[in-house]
Each structure stands twice: as C-alpha cells, then as structure tokens.
Symmetry: C2
Subunit: 228 residues, 2 copies
Amino acid sequence: MLDKNHKANIRERGLLAKTAFLKALSPTALSRLLDIAHISMVPSRATIIREGDPASAFYCVLTGYVRLYRVSRDGRQADIRVCSPGDMFAECLIYGGEKYRFSAQAAENANLARFDMQEVRELAEQDPTVAKSIMTVLSDHLLSTMDCVVNDRLHTAPQRVADYLLTRCPMESGSASIRLPYQKNLLAGMLGLAPEALSRAFSSLRRTGVTVRGRVIQIGDVSALKDV
Amino acid sequence: MLDKNHKANIRERGLLAKTAFLKALSPTALSRLLDIAHISMVPSRATIIREGDPASAFYCVLTGYVRLYRVSRDGRQADIRVCSPGDMFAECLIYGGEKYRFSAQAAENANLARFDMQEVRELAEQDPTVAKSIMTVLSDHLLSTMDCVVNDRLHTAPQRVADYLLTRCPMESGSASIRLPYQKNLLAGMLGLAPEALSRAFSSLRRTGVTVRGRVIQIGDVSALKDV
DNA sequence: GGTCCGATTTGACACCGATCAAATCGGACC
DNA sequence: GGTCCGATTTGATCGGTGTCAAATCGGACC
C-alpha cells in the first residue's frame, strides 16, 4: 500500500520539526521521534489506512492532502476531516483503541511520516513534552471536530462556505482573493455537502460579491461575508 | 453560579475514583486529584459554564446530566454532547485555549467535581499516569465526536434513533426494554434533531416493532433495528 | 381519583440539500 | 491554438427535517 518507505532525510526532518506535534518537544524527544519516523510517498487516491484494520501507527502529512472518511453500509462516504501539510491523523488511537475507525485516502500525491504507536507511547511515558504535545494535538482536533458538528447543525450551505472563506481570508475587511488548495470536490466533502450543493452555495454567494473562476475565489467585500 | 462548593467527602471520592479519568491513576496522583476537586450542586437548567468565559477549570459529572451546546448568532442552539455521570467536560481546554468554546447547562439537578486546570497541568507534567488518563479521555471524546459528525452526515432521523437504542440495548437479539435516562427533548438535541423530528422518528420505528410509552421504549426485535 | 402544566405528539407547510441527468467549463497535453 | 476528459455547473425533482400551531399525553401534586 505504501511504497518507498525510508527514514527521514534532512529536508523531511525540517518539515517534520515544524509541525504542531513536533515543534514543542524537548531536543532529545524531537531527535528520537525524527529517528523513528518512516517517510513514504503515496500517489493520489491511494488508500493509506482502512477502517477496521489493526491500528499500529499514526501519520503526519508533510506534503499533499489526506481525506479521512467513513463508509456507510450502503456505500455512501462521509468525510470526517481533511489533513493539510503539518497535520496529524489517527493519533486519536494512541490510547483510543485497537483498530482504525475511519479510512484515509490521499487527495493528491502526498508525502507522509509514519510513527509506530507503541514507540511513541513509550516515549510519552518517559518525556512529559511528548505527552503534552499529544494532548495539545488531541485537544485541537477535538475542538475543531466539535466546531464541525455545530456548523453542520446550525449553518446552511452558503453559511458554511462563507465561514470557510473567512477562515482562509488574510484580510479583516475590504476585498480579497483566495486560491483553493484542492479540488471543489474535496471542499464539498469537508463541508458536509454534495458537490452540486457547494456549487449552488457559491452561486448564491454571488449576490454577496463572491466570484468563482476555477480554483480562484474573489471576495468583493469581506465584511459582507460575515453577515451571511 | 455554583453554590455550596466543598471538598469531596467519602461518598463523592468513591464516585470520582470510579470515573474513566481517575480510575487508572497512580495512587499518589489519585489522592492528589481527589484533594483538589471541588464539589458543587447545580440545580436543573442552571448554566455551568458560558461560551467565551475564561477557562480556568474542567469538570466531572458525579450525578445528573449536563448538556454542552453552542448558540448561533440568531439564537438557535446546537448540542455538542450530553455528559452522563462519570463523564468529563471542558478537559479539551487543558492545552486547548484560554476560553470556553461552548456553554454547559445542567439538564437536571447535578453534582459536579471541578478541577483547576493549572493544578492538573502541573500534575500531568509530574506524573505520566495523569497525562495518560487525559490522553485517553481526549481520544475517547474525539472518537465519539467524529462518530457524531459521521452519523449526522450519513444517517436519517430513524436511523440515528435506532443506533441510539442499539447502543443502550443489553441484548444482541430478541426483545428488550429501555428506560430513557432523560427527557426526549434532550435526546433530540443529542441526535441533532428537533423534538418533533425525534417524535416522528419513533413513530416511524413502530413498523419495526418499537413502542414508546413515556420514557419507556419497548423493542420487539433487536436485530430488526439493525436493518433500519 | 382529579387537576394542572409542561412535555410530547400530530398536522400542515416550506425549505434545504441529495440525487440524477445533461450541459458546460477548465486545465493538461499535443 | 486545439483536443479531450474529468471536474464543475445547472436544471428538475424528491425526500427529509425544521418550524409553527394545535391537540394530547404523562407525571407530580393535591
């Protein structure tokens, strides 16, 4: 499933050291973790982990995007999260169970670091900075997943899209331009929408001054978006 | 907001020691945490924490039920989680931010243990069993919140209700009877439904052999529920 | 057993978003 | 610049769920 598995080289160690998980570690823990990381390259659409498989490792995304999702009995898929470079996934199983609870798929060619859970568990018990980093990552994921539940339950499609745009918008007001880092397909899934619904949401935002051309989104008036 | 704040007595220490958070601690960490816990009684419907307030403590439910929710700009509320006896809440802020990200309200008279976050943070850095317990609780909450997202996105109201019943159902098959531990109002919120939608979901489950009288739910055929 | 009030159910209706199909767009590759 | 194919948009339709209002239920208290 994963080809070309190798130890992290200098460049990869540099990327890893900047991630939320690794950046606050003690020097010894950092170098230990960099040593146990295994880097792999996965092609677009490849399956990285499969729901139900025994969970022996978690991952950190170095480049590319990874989609976490679950499949229902009737074959429909629901996205749980999309991981960007620097994000971890499946870390929730470090003390949370024996099997993966969702599948993960590369949304495009991706570079991943793989950490053996047992080794990290041992490190976490020896070095409090490792435990603290894990707690921080888990807290952040929990908070953002709660946000996701609330968004689904309170906001309509155009509101979710406006929200998304505002979170990536550098400006506080005035006009702005954003380039989506991935296909609209993926964005739709993240927001809990069918692709058609995302498209319609964008077109309903036209009256608020939002223009779409390919992956580029023009926002005429950022503060107007906040009122959607 | 919280009246009659006192240290845990014998009975309360017993309840606390059985919770998921405290049951796996080292003896010294356990007794230290029992010492710093503050017990309070909150009347039904009282607000326990308010979104946006500075977060200085997290809580453990000893008796009663606590509803975590967020309010939208237009005043509608969305439930995030309902905490039962033994559950913790707001622990996601131990390394996750300065302010509460949701409000909490007693769904009925409740007994709570309050832990000062700063004190627990210090303990977690000294005693790995404390850090491990926190990681376990965070992982569990993250996994169940992911389940919630997926459920919302994949299942209809009757399916969510069937799911809920199955998770509380002692039997694997045959018939069963369940008594809801709280009002249907609260259950509806947990499942992301309006009370009317919950009611209609129950009535659509009648054809599957589910009978409702007040808080008592009769399930004619447990395995039939699995096919909903 | 009867009363009462809030909880729950039922009915009517509107809206949102999923789905399917068809048209169009956009970017990669010649 | 032209071609091509998958991605996206648009149109039509439908089912599911929220909302409001009215009827009914159920449990607590006399």
